[in-house]
């Protein structure tokens, strides 16, 4: 019995640590901040460059875009999936892929303008990380 408990404790530690490591890695890769109201998170991409914010709250909540305008044509419903693709960069956006489908200067501001709007940068990233830790909205 004791042995089993020991093993269990050991296993739970292992799980906990690997979970922690996983979390760590995730935050290296980017940030996913859940939003209960909308049912879809705020996402910060860290690849290829750090600190690009996509906000469901803004696009769905404030603009009222329907899920179908993005899912599944432009994006899969899995956070930080897009940045696995080698072509998730500005050129792709300029060619009308990903965010560039709308951010083309007609439907929404063009991808080659207002850089610091999508790009919240390392500063924005750190601020959000801190807010997430302290549990502030």
């Amino acid at each position: 019995m004791k042995k089993i408990i020991k093993i269990l404790i050991f296993l739970s530690f292992l799980l906990g640590f690997s979970g922690l490591a996983y979390l760590q890695e995730r935050s290296e890769e980017g940030l996913v901040i859940p939003n209960e109201e909308i049912g879809a998170p705020e996402i910060v991409y860290n690849k290829p460059v750090k600190g690009v914010l996509f906000s469901h709250k803004y696009h769905v909540g404030e603009l009222g875009l329907s899920c179908e305008s993005c899912h599944p044509k432009l994006f899969e419903m899995q956070a930080l999936k897009a940045q696995e693709n080698p072509d998730f960069n500005m050129n792709a956006l300029y060619q009308g892929k990903y965010c560039g489908a709308c951010h083309d200067g007609k439907m929404a501001f063009a991808s080659n303008t207002k850089c610091a709007t999508c790009h919240i940068g390392v500063k924005g990233l750190k601020r959000l990380e801190k807010e997430m830790k302290t549990g502030k909205k």
Binding site: P48, V49, K50, G51, K114, C115, A116, T117, H119, I120, G121, V122, K123, G124
Partner: protein, 252 residues
């Protein structure tokens, strides 16, 4: 001094087109309308460090840029996305400790701003032509290089009085414990330029083409062209201190 001012003033008055290099003239005519506007307004020029001289003859050019190469950096600040690859590259190249920085990105944010609310502003040592730090240093531990115009540190002479840090209008200096001296950006002179590697680490690392580095005394260089164009505003930070910085800001 007054004479030079007067000359600049005259240059503003009658743009002596025949004296301008060919390439320059084409640019000049292309944006002729804007130029007229700028000249009439005048105000823009007063914040630009050297635009009037941009339309000068070669020998005047030499007077204006006493260094060869006259190292300078131009920022297209609207492109900056604060990915901080420049900062990382700088820290790595120059062994900048975690408590200091040689270059950093400032975030300007105003909720009252129309449209775009945020813009990033990269800063580093401005390698001024009249560097307040060099004037203030008691032991010549910081010098203006007579060849390149780079403001360098001579670490072993630094007594650590920190006057240069208070003197610098740009917050470009910090005390480095490992070096036992004040440390600052030297346009990567120590680690790259002196070994024939160009450009600086931060310029190389920038993915967005924000930073442009080059010889301001060379009319063919990109920095020269960016600083001497009139179509877009070119400005320097804190011109009122009279330090005559060699780091310029413009937009893409």
């Amino acid at each position: 001094m007054i004479k030079r001012w007067f000359k600049e003033f005259k240059n503003l008055g009658n743009e002596e087109i025949e004296k301008i290099p060919d390439e320059e003239r084409r640019e000049f005519l292309k944006i002729g309308l804007i130029i007229t506007g700028v000249f009439a307004g005048g105000s823009l020029l007063s914040v630009v460090s050297k635009v009037a001289e941009g339309l000068a003859t070669p020998e005047e050019l030499k007077n204006n840029y006493p260094y060869k190469p006259h190292y300078s950096m131009v920022f297209k600040i609207d492109l900056c996305i604060d990915c901080e690859r420049c900062v990382e590259a700088c820290n790595l190249t120059n062994q900048v400790p975690d408590y200091g920085w040689r270059t950093m990105i400032l975030e300007r944010y105003s909720s009252k701003a129309v449209d775009q609310k945020r813009i990033f502003l990269p800063i580093l040592c401005n390698h001024c032509n009249h560097p307040p730090c060099v004037i203030a240093c008691p032991t010549k531990a910081t010098i203006k290089d007579s060849q390149t115009g780079i403001v360098k540190m001579v670490s072993y002479k630094c007594i650590g009085c920190k006057t240069c840090m208070t003197a610098c209008p740009y917050n470009a200096r910090y005390f480095n414990e490992e070096r036992h001296a004040v440390d600052k950006c030297d346009f990567c002179w120590e680690k790259r330029l002196s070994k024939g590697i160009t450009p600086t680490a931060c310029v190389e690392a920038c993915p967005a083409g924000v930073r442009i580095f080059g010889d301001l005394s060379d009319p063919l260089s990109e920095v020269y062209r960016l600083v001497h164009q009139l179509g877009k505003p070119v400005w320097v930070l804190k011109p009122e201190t009279g330090a005559k910085p060699n780091v310029f800001y413009t937009i893409s």
